[in-house]
């Protein structure tokens, strides 16, 4: 019985430490994951929300990407249909980053209204699976037509 009690005490200690690590981990590294509209609502309600680290999930506006290879700067507009923000990202973009893909950018919305991203993830749904074309988009090529036939 003694050993059992000791084990339970040891277990509680482990669990307590992990609980603490998890709680503090979430507190320190957790960031809001917002759409541009939600971000706009947050910022309008509370101006101190500028310059706070957030993640924004949005779609790249077609034709908005400009790449300055010399300074390794990429700018584009990210939208959720209702609200959009210009995004500035410094670094190498993933291969999948292109017009119309879903991206997740992590960074800060600056008071001037630009989103300064420190990470850029392109969620290429077509990596494994063909994406259904967004409503309103017209299928252009053969493969897209093939998809719409399913």
């Amino acid at each position: 019985m003694r050993a059992r009690t000791k084990f339970i005490i040891g277990g509680v200690l482990v669990l307590g430490t992990v609980g603490y690590l998890m709680a503090s981990g979430i507190k320190e590294t957790g960031v809001y994951y917002l759409t541009p509209s939600e971000l706009a609502a947050k910022v309008n309600a509370d101006h101190s929300f500028y310059n706070v680290g957030v993640k924004m999930g949005a779609r790249v506006v077609n034709g908005s990407i400009t790449r300055d290879v010399a300074t390794q700067t990429i700018t584009f507009r990210a939208t959720d249909g209702a609200q959009s923000y210009p995004v500035v990202y410094h670094g190498l973009a993933p291969d999948t980053f292109t017009d119309g893909v879903d991206v997740v950018v992590e960074g800060r919305l600056m008071p001037d209204g630009t989103f300064r991203a420190t990470t850029l993830l392109a969620k290429c749904a077509s990596r494994y699976e063909a994406v259904p074309p967004p409503t309103g988009a017209t299928p252009t090529s053969g493969p897209a037509a093939a998809r719409s036939a399913t």
Partner: protein, 675 residues
Amino acid sequence: MTDLGNIALWITLLIGAWGSVVGFVATKQRRPDLARSAERAIFAMFALLVVASAGLMHALLAHDFNVEFVAAYTSRNLPVFYTWSAFYAGQKGSLLLWALVVSLFGTAALLVNRRKYPELTPIVASVVAIVITFFVATMVFSANPFERLGYTPADGRGLNPQLQNPGMVFHPPLLYLGYTSISVPFAFAVAALITGRLDTGWLHAIRKWTLLSWLFLSCGIVMGMWWAYVELGWGGYWAWDPVENASFLPWLTMTAFLHSVMIQEKRGMLKKWNIGLVVLSFLLSIFGTFLTRSGVISSVHSFAQSNVGYFFLIFLILAAGASFTLYAYRWPVLEAESKLESMVSREAAFLFNNLILIVIAFSVLWGTLFPILSELIKGTKVTVGPPFFNQVNVPLGLLLLLLTGIGPLIAWRHASTGNLRRQFFWPVAALLVVAIGLVAVRMSDGWAIGAYALAAFVVATIVQEFVRGTGARMRLHHEPMPLAFARLVGRNRRRYGGYVVHLGIVMLFAGFAGLAFKSDTEATLKPGESVEVKSPYGHTYKLTFQGVSQYEQLNRFVSAATLEVYRDGKYEGLMRSEKRQHLNSLGQPTFEPSTEVAIRSDIREDLYLVYAGSVQGTEQSVFRVTLNPLVWWVWYGGMVLVVGGLISMWPGGGGPTAASRRRAEPAGYVAQVTG
């Protein structure tokens, strides 16, 4: 042929419906004829799924673009090797592969076990039939790989370039093998619960199956890491992405089971826990699939959102409900035969090992689901990233590493001071020497020092076991050393295979700890210009840009940047990173350009080069150079782990009989060698 495949799928569904029920009826009414029928249902489903898979393979290789799946994932100019792998590049085909593999494992498990465990196999057959039927129903009603288009396109869409990589050819099937083979241990656990035969018999039946699933899963995960490393070009191999986590979760619970099962075999403890772990592993594998395919959690790897996710969710809820009801029903029977006697014992070490593995699994699950949980509770999505997972898991991982050294050496029941001194003197000495040495050379990262010191501790325990075991055989049997060593391992495969697995784990940890010293450099260069990077060992690499050449190759247009590499002024060779623009059969560009990284790898560090592109209208090109210390150890650690697993699994030595022979003896190597 393709239509035959489709018909085979439908017949599988019908037979599956019969097989799902008949095994339970056979057990309830004690009807051997129905029990036979349940087994035959699995064999028939396997045969039919082979036909269905052959049908899909035929459609792929024959470029039958009238089949939607073929048109969506292949094209005429795709190399045959990848046309073959396109089978599981998409949702529909991967479901078929999944069902095929479950039926294969089910067939094998029945053939191996039906004579030894005739009272369990009818239910095992029915549980396996339910799992297969679920997958086939999902295909037939929601994602049929044989679905035809209303017309026949001239060419298909082609395979995503990132999947055109050897790692991607082997990684998914291995992962699927791991996921699916858990169905067999799960089916045995359910059979044991239903029949009430909860002695260690069912454990013997599934121990090797679980080890097999665990091995496949390990291979699949490491292969996936390798693919991410060489193909995705971000310089790492693990990002705590939800999909990666999904494969890690069942791996953790299975690892816990492989350890705790030993306590049940030796001491009759942890019966409830073990059944729980098997059930949990199965549910987590289904959950992982649900996560990957439903789009509930945003991941870089997601399949397209589809209603296949609902099928998985419903199946998950039903399976969880049924197994927990059964579990609760048999709860009183699962009483332990003995109790924990001391905290300084192998039992206690294993209990802590299990506790930590489960806590890691829980924290990973929590972090993965946190966006959903926070949205449910607080109304806004909050995500946690790699820092969260690292903060929680690095300390836990090191604790686990410590137990990896302690567990196998400490005595059962109660370890005496003499036992502790005898077993741990040299390992602790190794730990201290390495720790002091690393502090002396001013290694900057405390966690890394801890990791290497503990790694030395574990390696010392393993070496000591091999040395003492070999020495004992040499003395007792008068064998020369190589023979003594070979027989030692050969006659105690489970034990020494386990040590080799531990060695692989230590190598993996050594590789992971190397991440603390990773560095990235970005550079814009004109031909003739160079960039210098310093490695943590003090070497200076100089990379001189030679230029970009462009040419067409296979199904792609390639721009290749070549750089000369010098280390401390000495010429080391050329590195070539490519941008590839894939083309369709009309020669038009298809998909986004993909990057082919260049890696120079040795035992100490990897030089990892990415050509990011050239500035238009100038000769300037942009590169990222990453120095990744000790990545080699991750890949080779993975291989050592697989070799160890194979040694443990090899039929013969160290099986149940050997285990029962050893039952009463203390934890000393001599008794085991002579016994």
